[in-house]
């Protein structure tokens, strides 16, 4: 439980510097706007289609997009700021182990992200007051969103551990996430055999089933493994100071 002190410190920093508030506000405004437009669409075509394919799928794909926009801004400071301020020198000379530091930071970001996502539950709740629907598909979508977000956070944290510049950190995270997205964008360019392999690793394609209201244990495992993979890379990146000898 040693990571709790880092966890608490990160939350104090996020809420103390208004980063958390401003990102939450942006997240809620964007997701609210998308929910509204998706609702309008559902209102027009909902009579011909079921609610999952006409509302939830669109909504969760939009949520995925907003998540991709917001999370790099949340994770960019994780290690970059510590390096810039020199506070990494404190963390590394306190009796804290690298996994404590990494988990503390990771869970702090997850906490904030889960809080944001939790607040968006207000939209379906509002809808449920005027329209009866089955909660299964949207809940599946939310599970997927949380898993996807955790993976993005681990990815952003890894990139933040590589630089001491927050802007570079955020831009590179966008770069990597967009790369994961475009991995399967153009099937013709890559070729159908390759796409079969590549799409296995596309964070964005994996999310499709969740958006359609289906929870696949394979997909859950995939996201958890990806998250662990990036956490492991972060650990390696921190440990590299021992042989590289730089800050």
């Amino acid at each position: 439980m040693k990571f709790m002190c880092v966890f608490k410190k990160e939350l104090r920093l996020y809420f103390g510097s208004f980063i958390a508030y401003s990102l939450m506000t942006a997240f809620l405004i964007l997701t609210g706007y998308f929910f509204y437009t998706d609702m309008v669409f559902f209102d027009l075509f909902g009579d011909f289609m079921d609610i999952t394919s006409s509302l939830w799928t669109y909504y969760f794909l939009d949520l995925r997009f907003v998540t991709m926009l917001i999370l790099p801004l949340l994770t960019m400071r994780l290690f970059a700021e510590e390096k810039k301020l020199g506070t990494i020198e404190l963390l590394w000379t306190y009796p804290l182990k690298d996994p404590h530091i990494i988990l503390g930071k990771f869970f702090a970001c997850c906490f904030i992200f889960f809080l944001m996502v939790f607040l968006t539950l207000a939209y379906p709740l509002l809808l449920s007051t005027v329209h009866q629907f089955d909660w299964g598909p949207p809940l599946a979508g939310y599970v997927g969103t949380l898993l996807l977000g955790a993976t993005f956070i681990a990815c952003g944290m890894f990139i933040s551990s590589l630089t001491e510049n927050q802007v570079v950190s955020a831009m590179s995270t966008y770069g990597l996430l967009v790369f994961f997205w475009f991995l399967t964008w153009n099937e013709e360019a890559i070729g159908t055999q390759v796409i079969g392999v590549v799409s296995q690793f596309s964070l964005f394609d994996r999310f499709q089933d969740f958006a359609k209201g289906v929870i696949n244990s394979k997909d859950i495992v995939f996201f958890l493994l990806m998250t662990l993979f990036f956490l492991y890379l972060t650990l390696q990146s921190l440990e590299s100071r021992k042989w590289r000898g730089i800050r």
Partner: protein, 332 residues
């Protein structure tokens, strides 16, 4: 308490610390002296467990800094050279985090934080955001951070730089007090700090140790050797010969003309090092007997600065440059 054996640290091609070895017994306050880039901070970082040495062996309290880093970190309080604090946290929350990170039991945390706040004179600002404090106060927060959980070994990298004089005295007293039952390593550029705070001084340059001497030893040595500056009108080599033959004189060096200003044309000036009683009377009598004009004779105090500069410049190969401007050196 601390042993360092043949420790080397490389940054790529750069050799920052080169095969240094020293030992610090429990309860000693050691001062690291050395010019910029000497390798002081690098050595301290190795001892604090920040990064391992490239080669060599270092132990703190009998624990190896490489294989038992975690336990070393529990024992060491470290104040980094770059004052590192979270500007967005209030002083108290920051120290709260530090106490938790350093495994201070929950029950004792409040008391421990109050103790370091008091010790570093932070009472008035304890609820303010660190980023809004003045530099000196941020520095004190940095020192407070190192003191949390009463570490047995304190490693303070230039702790008094940027503090107001009153606080400097305060912090030095604090270090002295802590040094009574703890091992302290401080690095500094202020030589008088070494003589007020330290039991021993280690002088480093170019990653190597030039001297490691106890302060009592050093003082005795400084008192043993005395110096005179003499300016005489007459034949330089003859004067030198005479001075060298005086009893108890150890060395005679010429002072270069340019340094003494334009009015000294036709005269020669020397620095005479000797031991024992004042020999100004004998020197002046001997010179006057030869019929040379004695323009100036003056005792120079040999200070820690002189010794330091002499050592460093010798190791840099710039020779006896220390003798060029002795007056300014004594000023401190």
């Amino acid at each position: 308490m601390i042993t360092v054996e043949n420790v080397t640290k490389r940054f790529g091609p750069l050799l920052a610390v080169d095969q240094i070895s020293f030992h610090v017994p429990r309860g000693e306050v050691v001062g690291f002296l050395g010019p910029n880039g000497a390798g002081k901070s690098t050595t301290m970082r190795i001892l604090a467990g920040f990064f391992p040495p490239t080669s060599g062996h270092a132990t703190v309290g009998g624990l190896d800094v490489v294989t038992q880093t975690h336990r070393v970190k529990q024992m060491v309080g470290y104040f980094p050279e770059r004052v590192s604090v979270y500007p967005d946290l209030p002083v108290r929350s920051f120290l709260d985090f530090v106490a938790e990170a350093k495994d201070v039991p929950r029950r004792e945390r409040k008391q421990e934080i109050a103790r370091v706040i008091e010790a570093c004179g932070l009472d008035k600002v304890s609820d303010r955001i660190i980023g809004h404090l003045s530099k000196g106060y941020r520095q004190r927060v940095g020192i407070a951070q190192a003191l949390v959980h009463k570490p047995e070994v304190l490693i303070l990298d230039e702790p008094t730089i940027g503090l107001d004089p009153e606080q400097v005295v305060e912090i030095r007293r604090l270090i002295r007090d802590l040094g009574a039952d703890r091992t302290v390593i401080i690095s500094t550029h202020i030589l008088s700090e070494v003589s007020t705070v330290c039991d021993r001084v280690i002088i480093i340059n170019g990653g190597r140790i030039l001297a490691s001497e106890s302060l009592t030893e050093l003082r005795a040595q400084l008192q043993r050797t005395r110096r005179l500056q003499v300016e005489v009108e007459g034949p330089e080599s003859a004067i030198r010969g005479l001075l060298e033959q005086m009893p108890r004189v150890e060395t005679v060096r010429s002072l270069e003309l340019g340094v003494r200003g334009p009015e000294s044309n036709g005269s020669a000036a020397f620095i005479v090092e000797y031991t024992g009683e004042d020999i100004r009377k004998e020197v002046s009598r001997a010179l006057l007997q030869q019929g040379w004009g004695l323009l100036e004779i003056r005792a120079l105090e040999l200070t820690l600065e002189d010794m330091y500069l002499q050592l460093v410049q010798q190791s840099n190969g710039t020779g006896a440059g220390v003798y060029l401007a002795p007056a300014t050196l004594v000023a401190e």
